[in-house]
């Protein structure tokens, strides 16, 4: 899994470079226009003030990330199970697909406060909102991967005398992993955002609460600090998924020459 130099340049250096260009442009604009920091703080101020409040932010990160860990994990487990069941039963698939699509049309900011009414200020509404954001891409990816197994591969396994479970274990599940991970990557991007939406609907702490409090006290710099942290966390989760993908499906990445 060695990165070649060309990969390194285009894969890591290029996005960092673009980021830097944007930040420098932003900071220059703030300096030149002399805009008030309550309206638009520059990146230097954002970073400085965020470091100042690092203790507080880290506490909120802990709360949000435990929601993300719990919510995403439960969502993934549910999606894997439902994906399997959908593949095993055509009537179930027909029954469930419209619901899956419908679930993506639910206006989350409207429904989330209701969940707080139903389930209180605890972690349950956050887990549900994270689920609403992440469950569908994972279940659709997994089910699509399972369904794409070639008939001829199934036939070969049948001549071996494979049971249904063996067919899944040796062929269908490994064959579905690439599609599953496509779904997981999408899910990872939205998981932290889901937790923020859940917190905004009603919570005592977490990054969503932190940002909302700072906005109300006109600390726009710390609002941006929160946004940066949310982005960084989402990105870290995304990278964790990509790394897991490399570990679990090595055959798609090792390009050893014969």
């Amino acid at each position: 899994m060695k990165l070649r130099r060309a990969d390194l340049l285009s894969g890591v250096a290029a996005p960092i470079l673009l980021c830097l260009v944007v930040l420098i442009g932003w900071q220059s604009y703030v300096w030149i226009s002399d805009i008030r920091p309550q309206v638009l703080p520059g990146p230097i101020r954002i970073v400085r003030e965020s470091i100042e409040s690092a203790d507080v932010i880290v506490g909120h990160v802990g709360v949000t990330m435990s929601e993300v860990a719990g919510g995403f994990a439960i969502s993934i487990c549910g999606a894997l199970l439902l994906g399997l069941l959908i593949d095993l039963s055509t009537p179930l698939r027909r029954a469930v697909y419209p619901l899956i699509v419908a679930s993506q049309t639910v206006p989350i900011p409207v429904i989330a406060p209701l969940m707080v009414v139903w389930f209180g200020f605890g972690i349950v509404p956050k887990i549900i909102v994270i689920g609403l954001f992440t469950f569908v891409p994972v279940v659709l990816g997994f089910a699509a991967g399972l369904a794409a197994t070639e008939r001829s591969a199934t036939d070969l396994m049948r001549t071996f005398g494979a049971s249904r479970w063996q067919l899944y274990r040796y062929v269908k599940i490994p064959a579905a992993l690439p599609d599953l991970f496509t779904g997981l990557r999408v899910g990872a991007i939205y998981a932290v955002l889901g937790a923020i939406f859940g917190e905004l609907a009603g919570a005592v702490d977490g990054l969503g609460i932190f940002m909302e409090q700072q906005r109300q006290s006109f600390r726009t710099d710390l609002v941006f600090g929160g946004i940066f942290v949310v982005t960084a966390l989402s990105y870290a989760l995304f990278l964790a998924v990509v790394l897991t993908e490399r570990l679990l499906t090595p055959w798609r990445f090792d390009r050893r020459e014969p």
Binding site: S152, A153, T159, F160, G161, P174
Partner: protein, 257 residues
């Protein structure tokens, strides 16, 4: 011994007439080839025999008994048209997959497979991924996977169809020698599907010719060449006459209304 009686098969609720009244027989120790144009139902026929599908009509007898599809599944060593080596398994794990599925512990399955790697020209490639193998090696790996199941009756679906001419000729000779060796120890039979008359004459004792869809048997030709099939035998005057005869009949049935 395998016998088919008036086997018929349609797809798409009767709209695609794949096979029509196919009758043929493969005796113990016989190597029989089935030659026909693309799409005439050769793979369909092998799938029916292997028990992967049920015929709409007719009977499939194994050792004189009419077995249903479920029973036939365990009787044949089936080598599908594509090599179907799974990219997530190493070559060795692919080859031993059948044994593993049949309940042998993984280590034992790998050991049994490994013992044959030398013979099958796969030594040194145990831990490679299938895509790192040449086309010829992939076919040998797929063949080894089939043979390891220890089923005396082999169903081979165009095993060399995707190979270049030279590799194909090499593998034909190789297969012929392998089977001669294997069958010297314990008798087996094979039904080989191909669209190549030359391949059929090189390998088989008897050749059935199939018409374009709906596939039916149009003629049978005995290949009375000596065994083992030396290069002299398969390139002899007589062999060429048989090949030409097969070609002529293939073209004739293709042109027939």
């Amino acid at each position: 011994m395998l016998a088919l009686r008036d086997v018929a098969k349609t797809y798409d609720s009767g709209n695609t007439h794949a096979l029509d009244d196919v009758s043929l027989a493969v005796g113990d120790g016989e190597f029989v080839a089935l030659v026909g144009p693309s799409g005439c139902g050769k793979s369909t026929l092998l799938n029916l025999i292997a028990g992967l599908d049920t015929p709409d009509d007719g009977e499939i007898l194994v050792d004189g008994q009419a077995l249903d599809a479920e029973q036939r599944l365990a009787r044949f060593g089936y080598m599908p048209q594509e090599d179907l080596l799974f990219p997530w398994r190493s070559v060795l794990d692919n080859v031993s997959l059948g044994l593993e599925v049949q309940g042998l512990p993984r280590a034992a399955a790998r050991e049994r497979a490994l013992a044959q790697f030398e013979t099958f020209g796969l030594a040194g490639f145990e831990d490679r991924r299938p895509r790192e193998l040449s086309g010829g090696m992939r076919q040998r790996a797929a063949f080894l996977r089939t043979v390891l199941l220890d089923r005396p009756f082999l169903l081979l679906d165009e095993p060399f169809g995707a190979l270049d001419a030279i590799t194909r000729a090499q593998l034909q000779t190789w297969l012929s020698e392998m089977l001669a060796e294997m069958w010297a120890q314990s008798r087996g039979s094979a039904l080989l599907v191909t669209h190549d008359p030359q391949e059929a004459v090189t390998l088989a004792d008897r050749v059935y010719l199939m018409s374009p869809r709906p596939g039916r048997i149009t003629s049978v030709i005995d290949v009375d060449l000596p065994r083992p099939r030396s290069e002299a035998a398969t390139t002899s005057e007589h062999a060429h006459r048989l090949i030409d005869e097969l070609r002529r009949q293939t073209e004739q049935t293709a042109l027939a209304p």
